[in-house]
Symmetry: C2
Subunit: 270 residues, 2 copies
C-alpha cells in the first residue's frame, strides 16, 4: 500500500467518512478543542477526522511528510519521500449543522511544492461520492472520466462564490454576482472546485484571500486534469508555494481558458 | 387515498423522483419546450416531473384544483374540494447540471388561499430525503420531528440567500452578506426554507421579488410548523393571496421571531 495510489487515498477517505458520519449535524461535533495549524478553530469533528487519517498512516506503516489542518507538519515513517496534504473536513460549518455538502481533501506530492501534486482525491463525506485525479491521466467522478463545461462567458456561467466571514471583500464579489447567470455558495471550496471539474458548476471564485494551501491542493489537480484553468486572483499560478507553509490564496477556477480570461478581465476592470 | 394525507403526497413525490432521476445532469433534461404558467421556460425535466403528478392524480381518481408551474390551473375529478399547488422541480438549473440539491414541492389547502395550506411535503429528489408538515401538528424531516435553530442574531446566522438572475437586486443583499456569519446559496428556495425548518440554516432571505406562490406554499407551512417565522420582505404575511393567481414575493424566513426581527430591522435601516 502506498499513499500515491488512489485506492489507498480512497480507503483513507472512507475511514474519515465512517469516523465523521455519526457526528454530522450533532451539537457534540461543534465542541471547540483549540486552534489548529491552519489558524481556524479546531472543532471535535475536525479532530476526529484528522485523527482517523494519522491513525491509518501509523497502523499501515505508511511513510510521508503529513500536513494537516490540526496537527500541522508531521513526519510518518523513516525517510519519507512524499508529502501528503490534507483537509480532513472541508465544510465544517455545514457538517456541524447537518448540511450534506462536506468533503475530505487528500493530495500527495513527491516534492514540497503546491504545483507538483500528483495524486488527489476529494470525497463528499455525506454521500460518499468521490472526485479523483492522477497527474496526466485525467480526472474522474465516481470512477467515470469527467470534463469541465463548455461555457465560455461569465454571463452564461453558473458561478460558485464564497463571501462568508469576510465583510470587507463582499464588494469585490458583487460585480461577478450581477454578471453571472446563476450564483451558488455551497460552503466547501474543495468540493465546489471539483464541481467545476465535473461541469456541475462553470466556475468557482473566492476573493477573500482565505483559502489555505490544504484547502485547494487536491481540487487544483482535479480541476486541471478535467480541462479547467485555475489561478490566483492576480493570474499567478501555484508553483513554488511550499506545502509545509500555511499560505492563503484568492482563486479563480474556471471550466476553460476562455471563461477564465473572461472572469479575470471582468474583475480587472470592475 | 386522499391528497391531504401525507402518505399520498409522499407517494406522489416518490413518483416524481423516479421520473426525474434518469434526467439529472443530462443534456436532454435542458431541452426547452416552451414557457409555462409560472413564467419560466419549461424544460423537459419540468414537464416530465409535472406530468408524473397529473398522471398519478388521474390514475388514482384523485380530485382537486391543481396548480402547477407548467399546466397552470387544472381541475381533476368532479366537484373538487381541495387545492393542490405544486412546483414539480424546484432547482431546475441544479438538476440539469447534476448538482444534488433539487426538490419537489407539494402543498394542499381546503381553500384558494396561500395562508390556508394544511398539508405540505418537500422532497430532495436526489437523496429522497423528505420534509413534511400538517397544520398544528409540527414538522418532520425523515419522519422525525424538527425544530428551527435557536440563533437569535443575524451576526451569528448561517444565511441562505439567492441573488441569481436579478442584477438589480444584488445590492439589497450586500449588507446581509456582510453582517451574517456565513452565506449560502444552494439554488432551490423550497428546500432552503425547509433547511431553516430543520435548523441546517438559520434564515433564508430572497429579495428578488421572484419567488412564486408555488415555490413557497409548502415550505411556508413546514418552516412555521417547525417554529420559524416567515413573512414578505415588508413584514406582511401571506394570507389572502389566491393560490390560483401567480403572485411573486420577496421573503424573509427565520428560525424564530427574534432573528426575524433582527433581519427585518437591519434591512429597514440598511
Amino acid at each position: 500500500m502506498n499513499i500515491n495510489d488512489l485506492s489507498c487515498l480512497k480507503e483513507i477517505a472512507n475511514n474519515v467518512r465512517l469516523a465523521v458520519m455519526p457526528l454530522i449535524g450533532t451539537f457534540e461535533s461543534r465542541k471547540v478543542l483549540g486552534r489548529g495549524f491552519g489558524g481556524d478553530r479546531t472543532l471535535l469533528i475536525d479532530e476526529v477526522a484528522e485523527n482517523s487519517i494519522t491513525k491509518f498512516l501509523e497502523e499501515n506503516g505508511l511513510s510521508c511528510i503529513f500536513i494537516g489542518e490540526e496537527r500541522g507538519v508531521k513526519k510518518f515513517g523513516e525517510k519519507p519521500t512524499q508529502y501528503m496534504i490534507v483537509d480532513a473536513v472541508d465544510g465544517t460549518t455545514n457538517a456541524t449543522r447537518g448540511v450534506s455538502f462536506v468533503s475530505t481533501s487528500l493530495a500527495v506530492s513527491p516534492t514540497n511544492d503546491l504545483g507538483s501534486i500528483e495524486v488527489a482525491l476529494v470525497m463528499n463525506l455525506c454521500s460518499g461520492e468521490t472526485f479523483e485525479a492522477k497527474k496526466g491521466e485525467g480526472a474522474k467522478f465516481q470512477g467515470k472520466e469527467i470534463k469541465t463545461s463548455e461555457t465560455l462567458y461569465l454571463k452564461d456561467a453558473i458561478l460558485g462564490i464564497d463571501v462568508s466571514r469576510a465583510p470587507n471583500t463582499v464588494e469585490l464579489a458583487v460585480p461577478l454576482m450581477k454578471k453571472a447567470r446563476c450564483v451558488r455558495a455551497f460552503g466547501s471550496a474543495s468540493l465546489e472546485i471539483c464541481h467545476v471539474a465535473s461541469g456541475f458548476l462553470d466556475a468557482y471564485v473566492d476573493l477573500r484571500g482565505a483559502l489555505r494551501t490544504l484547502d485547494i491542493a487536491a481540487a487544483l489537480l482535479i480541476v486541471k486534469e478535467a480541462g479547467g484553468t485555475m489561478t490566483q486572483h492576480n493570474g499567478a499560478g501555484f508553483n513554488g508555494y511550499l506545502l509545509t507553509e500555511m499560505n492563503r490564496f484568492s482563486v479563480i477556477a474556471a471550466a476553460n481558458k476562455t471563461l477564465h480570461r473572461d472572469i479575470f478581465t471582468f474583475l480587472a476592470k470592475s
